[in-house]
C-alpha cells in the first residue's frame, strides 16, 4: 500500500501544499456541515447502495471498455482502449458526480440546487438529477458560453432549470463559479451547491473525485477481464480535472500504470491563448483552493482559450497539482487543431464522435500509442460524446448547418 497518495486529502482538505479551504467566512459553516455529512455517507452502506443503483439504472453503468481496433492499427503501436463515458445518460461523465451530490443534497434536506457550467454539460447533468428529484435548480452560466452552447441552454430549460446569465469578468466558466458562490453565500440555509469538477474548497475536490472514481474502478475490472492485466497507461483530458481524477484515482498505487492528463493547448502555449494551468500557470488561490492558476504578472486571473468550452478554465483541481509536482502523473498539452483532427479521425475510423474535450485525450492517446510497443495497452477516457460540438465544428470549418 502506498499511503502517500491514497490518504489524500489530509484532514484539513490539503493535497500537500494544494487544496484547502480558502473560502469566505460566511461559507465555513456550510462547508463544515457538508464535510461532516459527506464523511458520514462515504462509508454508509445504504447511501453507497443507492448511489450504485442510480449509476446502474439511471446512468446506465458500467460503461463499456471498448477496443478501438481500427484506430490501433492506424497508429501501429500500443493497443488503444476507450472508456465509453460518452454512452452515459446525458452524454458525459459529469452525471456520475451530479447523481452522487444530489443524493447528498437530499440527505441534508436541501431544497434548492445551484450549479455553474461552462460547456453546459455539467449544467445539463445537474438539471437532470434535480428534475428527477423534484428540486428547484438554478444554473449560472457566462454570457459568452450561453451564446456558444445554445443547445445545452435549451436542454437545461426543458429540464425545468433556470439558467442565469453571468455578465461579470470574462463572462465564462470562472465567472459563473464566482456567481454561484455569491448565490450560495446569500442562501446558505436551504441551498446545495453542486460543483462540477474537482475544484472549489474542501470537501469538493475529494467528493467529486470519489463520485467519479467509478470510472477507474470499472476500468480496473474490465482490464483484468479483457487484457488479463492492468493497462500500461491512462490518458484523460483535464479541464478542472474530474474525468481524469475519476480514472486515475483507483490506479494511484499501481506505479507501473503511467498517467497522462491532457490540458488544452489552445492556439499553442507560446501564443498565451490556451488553458494549460499546470503547464503554463503559476501557484495561486482561486475558487477556494490553492492550485495552479492562469494569472498575469499582477496576479489577476486571465482569460483562457480552448476550442472546447469544457476545458476553458483558468484553474485545475488541487490533486492534479499535487500529482504533477510529485511526478506520479504527467501533464501534457494538445492544441486546438490537433484536437479537431482527432475529432475527425475517431469519428471516421471508429464511428464514435467524441466531445471536443475528449478529442484532446484521443489526440494524445494516438501519439502515445505510436511511441509504445504492440504488447502494450493504453486506456483513453472518452469523457463525452460530440453531439453538442457539431455546431462548433461546422462553424470552424465554414459549414452552415
Amino acid at each position: 500500500m502506498n499511503q502517500e497518495f491514497n490518504n489524500l486529502p489530509d484532514e484539513t482538505g490539503h493535497f500537500g501544499r494544494y487544496g484547502g479551504n480558502f473560502a469566505s467566512e460566511t461559507l465555513f459553516h456550510c462547508l463544515e456541515a457538508l464535510n461532516a455529512a459527506y464523511k458520514k455517507l462515504k462509508t454508509d452502506a445504504d447511501f453507497q447502495q443507492q448511489f450504485k443503483q442510480d449509476l446502474a439504472d439511471f446512468v446506465g453503468r458500467p460503461s463499456p471498455l471498448y477496443y478501438a481496433e481500427r484506430l490501433t492499427k492506424q497508429q501501429q503501436g500500443a493497443h488503444i482502449w476507450l472508456k465509453r463515458e460518452d454512452l452515459n445518460h446525458t452524454g458525459a461523465h459529469k452525471i456520475n458526480n451530479t447523481v452522487g451530490q444530489i443524493l447528498l443534497a437530499k440527505a441534508m434536506g436541501k431544497k434548492r440546487i445551484i450549479a455553474e457550467t461552462g460547456a453546459g454539460q455539467h449544467g445539463v447533468a445537474t438539471a437532470t438529477v434535480a428534475a428527477r428529484m423534484g428540486l428547484e435548480c438554478i444554473v449560472y452560466m457566462g454570457a459568452v458560453d450561453i451564446e456558444r452552447q445554445a443547445i445545452n441552454v435549451f436542454r437545461m430549460k426543458l429540464l425545468g432549470a433556470e439558467v442565469r446569465s453571468v455578465d461579470s469578468g470574462s463572462k465564462t466558466l470562472k465567472d459563473a463559479l464566482n456567481e454561484a458562490m455569491r448565490d450560495w453565500v446569500a442562501h446558505v440555509d436551504d441551498t446545495f451547491y453542486i460543483i462540477g469538477t474537482v475544484a472549489g474548497p474542501a470537501p469538493y475536490p475529494e467528493m467529486v473525485r470519489d463520485f467519479n472514481a467509478v470510472i477507474g474502478r470499472e476500468v480496473r475490472q474490465q482490464s483484468m477481464d479483457k487484457i488479463g492485466r492492468l493497462p500500461d497507461a491512462l490518458v484523460a483530458c483535464v479541464g478542472g480535472g474530474s474525468n481524469a481524477m475519476g480514472l486515475f484515482y483507483p490506479f494511484i498505487q499501481d506505479k507501473e500504470v503511467a498517467m497522462y492528463g491532457v490540458e488544452a493547448g489552445g492556439q499553442g502555449l507560446e501564443t498565451g491563448r490556451h488553458a494549460a494551468s499546470i503547464n503554463a500557470g503559476k501557484v495561486g488561490v482561486l475558487h477556494g483552493n490553492r492550485t495552479y492558476v492562469m494569472s498575469d504578472e499582477a496576479g489577476q486571473v486571465i482569460e483562457t482559450h480552448s476550442i472546447s468550452a469544457g476545458l476553458d478554465y483558468p484553474g485545475v483541481g488541487p490533486e492534479h497539482a499535487y500529482l504533477n509536482d510529485s511526478g506520479r502523473a504527467k501533464y501534457v498539452t494538445i492544441n486546438d487543431d490537433e484536437a479537431l483532427a482527432a475529432f475527425h479521425t475517431l469519428t471516421k475510423t471508429e464511428g464514435i464522435m467524441p466531445a471536443l474535450e475528449s478529442a484532446h485525450a484521443i489526440a494524445y492517446g494516438m501519439k502515445l500509442a505510436k511511441s509504445l510497443s504492440p504488447e502494450q495497452h493504453i486506456v483513453v477516457n472518452l469523457s463525452g460524446r460530440g453531439d453538442k460540438d457539431v455546431h462548433t465544428v461546422a462553424d470552424i470549418e465554414g459549414v452552415s448547418v
Binding site: 460566511t26 455569491r182 489577476q300 486571473v301
Partner: protein, 267 residues
Amino acid sequence: MNQLLTETLSNLNHKKALIPFITAGYPDPKMTLPIMHCLVENGADVIELGMPFSDPMADGPVIQKASEQAIKQGTGLKQTLQMVYEFRQTNQTTPIVLMGYLNPIESMGYEVFVEQAARAGVNAVLLVDSPPEESADIQTHLKAHNMQQIYLVAPTTSAQRKQLICDVAAGFIYYVALKGVTGAADLNTDAVNHAVKALKATTQLPVAVGFGVKDADSAVAVAREADAVVIGSALIKIIDAAADNVESVLQQVGEFMRPIRAALDSL
C-alpha cells in the same frame, strides 16, 4: 511597539469609528489619493482600501464593477501600494487596511508583499479568502513587520470558530452584517446588534460592522453595539454617480460622509 490601528481605535473616547471603503484606482488612478484625503477631512477614522481583483467572489455588483474598471485602467497590487505610499507622504495618522483576495499576493510572494506593504505604510490586511486555517504563513510575515490581519465573523460562524478567530485576530473583528455579498440590502439591525453584543463578550478587540451599511440611519442602527462601521458599496455608488471630475467626486463624497459622521457623533 504599538500599532497605529490599535492606537487609533483605543483612543476614540467612546466615539464610534467610521471606516469608509474605496476600491484603489476607481474611478481612475489619479482620483484615489484626493478621495482618501477627502475621506479623512470628512470624518474617516480608518480607511479600507480595496485591492482590485479579477474574481471578487465575496463582492456584490457595485464593487465588482469598480474592481473591473480599476484593473482596466492599470491598477493592481503594486499600484495600490504606491498609492498608500503617496498618501503617507502627508498623512501619517490615519490607519490603512488593505482589503482584497489572496491570488495577487500569492503571485507577488508573501514576503515581498508584506515588506513592500509595510514600507508603503499599510497597517493591516483583510483577506477575504484567507481564513485562520490557511493564514499561518502570511501571519508570520505580517507579525515580523508589525502588521495586523483582520478577520471576518459571519452570522453563520459557529461559537467554536468565533473563538478560533478571536484568538488569532488583531486590530479589530469585522462582523459581516448579512448572509450575502457586499452591498446587499436587507439588514436586520436587531439581529446584528444581538450578534455583536455576543461577539464583544468573546473578545477584547473592537468590533466593526460592515456589508449592507449604507447611510446615517443604518450606521447609527448598527453602531448601538459595534465600535465601528464600514461603508463600502454605498460610497462607491456615490463616486460612480458623480460627474467625471475630481471636484465633483470630492464634493459628493464629502456630502455623503458628513451626515454619517454627525449621526455617529450624536450617539
